[in-house]
């Protein structure tokens, strides 16, 4: 698979496979997925940190999704009550 089509200067390169990622965080996720068996302890730590950070962010994101779902549901409920 082609990784990117245009040169970008500010990017992080994976030392294992040469693929490039927009930031350290996403690079850590890539390493955790693609090169889990070869990582040094420090790299493993960075992968763990990235996963933890991601989990927190995901929770926030899911909370927002839940609020939106509730708004959507009750929004439609009210609109149907008024209109029909």
């Amino acid at each position: 698979m082609r990784v990117h089509d245009y040169p970008i200067e500010a990017c992080e390169t994976c030392l294992y496979c040469g693929r490039e990622f927009p930031n350290q965080n996403i690079l850590a996720h890539h390493k955790g997925r693609a090169h889990a068996d070869n990582l040094s302890e420090r790299e493993q730590d960075s992968v763990r940190d990235a996963l933890e950070q991601e989990t927190t962010q995901l929770r926030m994101y899911q909370l927002q999704a839940l609020i939106l779902l509730i708004l959507l549901y009750f929004g439609f409920l009210l609109v149907y009550a008024v209109v029909t």
């Binding site: 698979m1 082609r2 990784v3 990117h4 089509d5 245009y6 970008i8 990017c11 490039e20 990622f21 927009p22 930031n23 965080n25 996403i26 996720h29 890539h30 955790g32 997925r33 693609a34 990235a50 991601e54 962010q57 995901l58 994101y61 899911q62 999704a65 839940l66 939106l68 779902l69 959507l72 549901y73 439609f76 409920l77 609109v79 149907y80 009550a81 209109v83 029909t84």
Partner: protein, 454 residues
């Protein structure tokens, strides 16, 4: 609580009754044009459809276990290759079918419901057979009579210009949609047989010039359409192995080869939309004022077909182009476009099923008669569908969209290393799907109107 439930039921039923009425009507002259309007205002009906898709996207954000997503789609059971006998009988069936269509189309009764060519092509092939392609597996390569006929032209006389990629089949598909809309293909057996003969002639000439393999791999639009629909199916044939996978799993693992395949998928969806759009009263209003202003109808129809295709492709491209801004990535726009296009195929399959399942069941007795005694005048028998059947089309339309949302979710997980990045990357394409749901639901709620000037 009670009135609420009643309201929802009324709404749901209203929605359900509309679909088959409209759809059967523009499946070509064989059905009535009865129409029931729902009690819910159109804007609310449309937003509810869009809301369902939006909500299902929000729900997928709760499925974040990468291993679970990957395991689910790698479930597969291989089974041994079918004996060559099946392939040979497939060829025979294809050839006999083509022969019957040509013979009865030119020489049979010219009443559409009594004619085997009309029944075989529309109820049998385009409705029934296509349904088996996306629900079971793509058997077209084994049946395709054009391929059997052109098999002797193995080597082409000309080399196919590679820079054209797969674009000729996109043009071919749009041309077929145009001909289907502007000519009475479903009403007049002789015209149908003529078009089939022309298609046969083009295929023979094309295969002779470019070689059978190249013709059917890069140029023939019908083969390409079945290949795309076949990717939705649970039975897949990859690298000589036949396996059963979850429906849609192939769409995750098999991204579009190049931009022309993305174009083909968009053309498939736009073709369905265009077919529906030209049967709405709004279209006739537009068409009569445009033709009144001096633009001939013969220009108008293909012009709208092409402009609409460009608009659909452009919308998709805009959604894909903003994806890297929403989810930071160095993956190029072209790659993202190739990955996110196949999920749209389940939407196309869902609409096809909604449009044609009832149609093919209704006509199945006549089709059966046509299969058993193609050269006799067929008794125009139909099955009257039970009331509850009208529930199904909406379930299929929504089902197609829901599977698409899920498949796009899994594609994003395959493409992006970070889960947050994967979820965010779906936002633009989901927005497009929500808009498209509303557009197509609008078409479905419109009373059927015979397209003017065709």
């Amino acid at each position: 609580m009670r009135p609420r439930i009643v309201d929802f039921t009324v709404f749901a039923l209203g929605l359900l009754v509309v679909v088959p009425g409209t759809v059967l009507a523009h499946s070509g002259g064989l059905a009535n044009t009865q129409q029931t309007r729902s009690a819910v205002p159109t804007w609310l009906f449309l937003s509810t459809g869009g809301g369902v898709i939006g909500a299902s996207f929000l729900l997928t954000t709760f499925v974040t276990d990468r291993d679970f997503v990957e395991t689910l789609h790698s479930i597969r059971t291989d089974f041994p290759a079918l004996p060559a006998f099946f392939e040979q009988s497939g060829r025979v069936i294809g050839l006999v079918g083509l022969g019957v269509v040509l013979w009865t189309g030119f020489l049979g009764s010219q009443q559409p419901l009594e004619n085997a060519a009309i029944l075989l092509v529309w109820a049998g092939w385009w409705a029934g057979f296509t349904i088996t392609v996306y629900l079971a597996g793509n058997s077209w390569p084994a049946i395709n009579p054009l391929r059997t006929i052109t098999a002797p032209f193995d080597e082409g006389k000309l080399s196919y210009p590679d820079r054209l990629g797969g674009w000729p089949r996109v043009v071919g598909l749009l041309a077929i949609v145009w001909i289907e809309v502007v000519s009475p293909l479903a009403d007049e057996p002789r015209i149908l047989a003529t078009i089939v003969s022309i298609y046969l002639g083009i295929s023979v000439a094309g295969a002779f010039l470019f070689g059978t393999e190249t013709w059917f791999a890069h140029i023939d639009p019908i083969t390409a359409v079945f290949r795309q629909y076949g990717k939705v199916a649970p039975i897949q044939r990859v690298a000589g192995r036949t396996s059963i996978v979850l429906p849609g799993a192939r769409l995750i693992s098999d991204e579009a080869d190049d931009l022309s395949e993305v174009g083909l998928i968009i053309a498939l969806i736009w073709g369905t939309t265009y077919d529906g759009f030209v049967s709405t009263p709004l279209w006739n209003t537009i068409a009569s004022s445009v033709v009144g202003a001096g633009i001939p109808a013969i220009v108008l129809y293909p012009l709208v077909l092409v402009v609409g295709f460009v608009v659909f492709l452009g919308t998709y491209w805009v959604a894909i182009s903003v994806t890297p801004r929403v989810a930071p990535t160095l993956v190029g726009t072209e790659t993202i476009a190739r990955f996110f296009a196949p999920p749209l195929l389940t939407i196309a399959a869902g609409y096809h099923l909604a449009h044609y399942l009832g149609y093919s069941i209704t006509l199945s007795p006549a089709l059966l008669a046509a299969l058993l005694r193609p050269f006799r005048v067929i008794q125009p028998m139909v099955i009257v569908l039970p009331e509850w059947f009208s529930v199904l089309p909406v379930a299929f339309v929504l089902g197609g969209h829901l599977v698409a949302v899920w498949v796009a979710h899994s594609v994003a997980y395959r493409l992006f290393p970070s889960r947050l990045q994967a979820i965010r990357s779906q936002l633009p394409i989901t927005l497009v799907m929500v808009c498209y749901t509303m557009v197509s639901l609008w078409i479905v709620t419109q009373p059927f109107a015979d397209p003017l000037y065709v």
